[in-house]
Point group: C2
Chain length 289, copies 2
């Protein structure tokens, strides 16, 4: 498995770290980084993350064996549209988007003749850092990558992505885009949204500054994700709307049940709810990192 020409559409932390890991594993010969920020591309060249920089996605994919879309999901539709006429027949296309039903629909829309070579994916890795300067060998060591093949994805295309991500040190899983979006709504998207709503309810208090002054470690950890990037989370929320709405409504129902329990002084019911949550979280803590 050797990629002669890898094209990164988006040359930041995610794409850059993929290129570095594949170079070290001797799985790739030549990397072209496409992006809109010349300073970022210059830094990527300087750090040998990429071998060539380009601001033209269509020209860059000519002769490519693998294209990885590693921009925010909101830019992927336009990029797929630009590269469609220039994509070599054998070239495999994948992405690193954190929602998968919407990206799958973009492949269907813009590359309908090329679907056997398309493999949507999601590396579960990241950092508060961004940009090519943050790209690092080893970002994917021991991390997980979820592939969500299309019905049309060819076995060998999926196998290529699996092999390459494994060469980066990652553990590769497959599930449907629907299942992926449900899982990540539940364990990532919804906690972020609940942390935002909690902060806003707190800010509405007449004595919010005093409250924030006495907030301690429990608050710190519970709200850490509320500091996340607004545009990114707006996009994820709208992209994964139906799974997120399902989970938010389930949370609203749980909250209503809790309020009912407290209002009726139902100590037994309250204990049962807390014990259920606490038991599950303690079990998870013992199994996990």
């Amino acid at each position: 498995m050797r990629i002669k020409r890898l094209v990164l559409l988006g040359t930041g932390l995610i794409g850059g770290s993929f290129a570095l890991a594949l170079k070290r594993a001797k799985c790739v010969d030549y990397v072209v980084g496409v992006g809109r920020n010349p300073a970022n591309l210059a830094r990527a060249l300087e750090l040998n993350v990429i071998d060539e920089a380009s601001d033209n996605a269509a020209a860059a994919v000519v002769g490519a064996d693998l294209v990885l879309l590693s921009t925010p999901v909101g830019q992927m539709g336009a990029l797929l549209q630009q590269i469609a006429p220039y994509l070599p027949l054998h070239c495999v296309v994948s992405d690193a988007g954190s929602t998968k039903q919407d990206v799958s629909a973009l492949y269907q829309q813009y590359l309908p003749q090329h679907l056997s070579r398309c493999v949507p994916g999601h590396p579960i890795a990241g950092s508060e850092l961004s940009g090519a300067a943050a790209a690092q060998y080893g970002l994917y060591e021991g991390r997980r990558v979820v592939l969500t093949p299309l019905p049309e994805s060819a076995t060998e295309s999926v196998g290529l992505l699996r092999t390459l991500w494994q060469a980066c040190g990652a553990e590769v899983f497959e599930m449907s885009a629907l299942e992926h979006d449900g899982v990540f709504s539940a364990v990532s998207h919804v906690p972020h949204l609940l942390a935002f709503t909690y902060m806003n309810a707190l800010l509405d208090r007449h004595n919010a500054p005093l409250c924030l002054d006495f907030a301690a470690t429990g608050f710190r950890d519970f709200t850490r994700i509320a500091a996340s990037h607004p545009e990114m989370w707006r996009d994820i929320t709208l992209a994964n709307k139906s799974a997120i709405l399902h989970d938010l409504k389930a949370n609203a129902a749980q909250l209503a049940a809790l309020i009912e329990c407290i209002e009726s002084q139902n100590a037994q019911g309250l204990t049962e709810q807390i014990v259920r949550a606490s038991t599950a979280r303690n079990q998870w803590g013992r199994k996990s990192r």
Copy 2:
């Protein structure tokens, strides 16, 4: 300020660390530890946390200058009732309960003749450890203690507690019990309850084990407090019922507004909500530990 006889009603982490700090600061001559667990009291004696052990609160307070109630709040009413007939006139009584309106009411109920000597308090310190063996010098160094004096509390009683907590290295604040309970509902009690309800909504999913398998660092921090002690949190919730219900309903309203925003694809409204939360959390992070 020198206490000849300090009586701890409850000889665990909180009371034991108070005694150790006051001994080191030479503010106390003799410490009596009261408790129901003989092994714990034996350990407290062995570690010189206390100088005398007792299972009889009424007998222990005879000759006391200061009594600190450092049991769970649920045991404080019975203890106050037991000691009431034996409490020396000059003896100051305080506590370390994490809710203050309910404890204030207990002083009013059981020590109506003694209120000038009663000073409700809440040291904002703790640990996942408990028991006398966990007591440590320095637990209160740089931590905060909130005193919530009763209308009847004498200035010199409040001053004594202030001086002693400062001798433990703590920073002392005063506010009303009502304000205290509002602040700690907002920044501590409600985050715990929201973490419980989130866990329970997740557990209701048909694919909960798969979700938990893919849960990562955001989930870990957001739910850390969901692993907390069920009985303790049931008691706090019922003790601070009205402040907590106010905040839970504010959270339910925020959640309903968010759901409405997402359902109507209101990207602008969604952005505003996220920016508000994210800005405030980033500001807090820069100011705080």
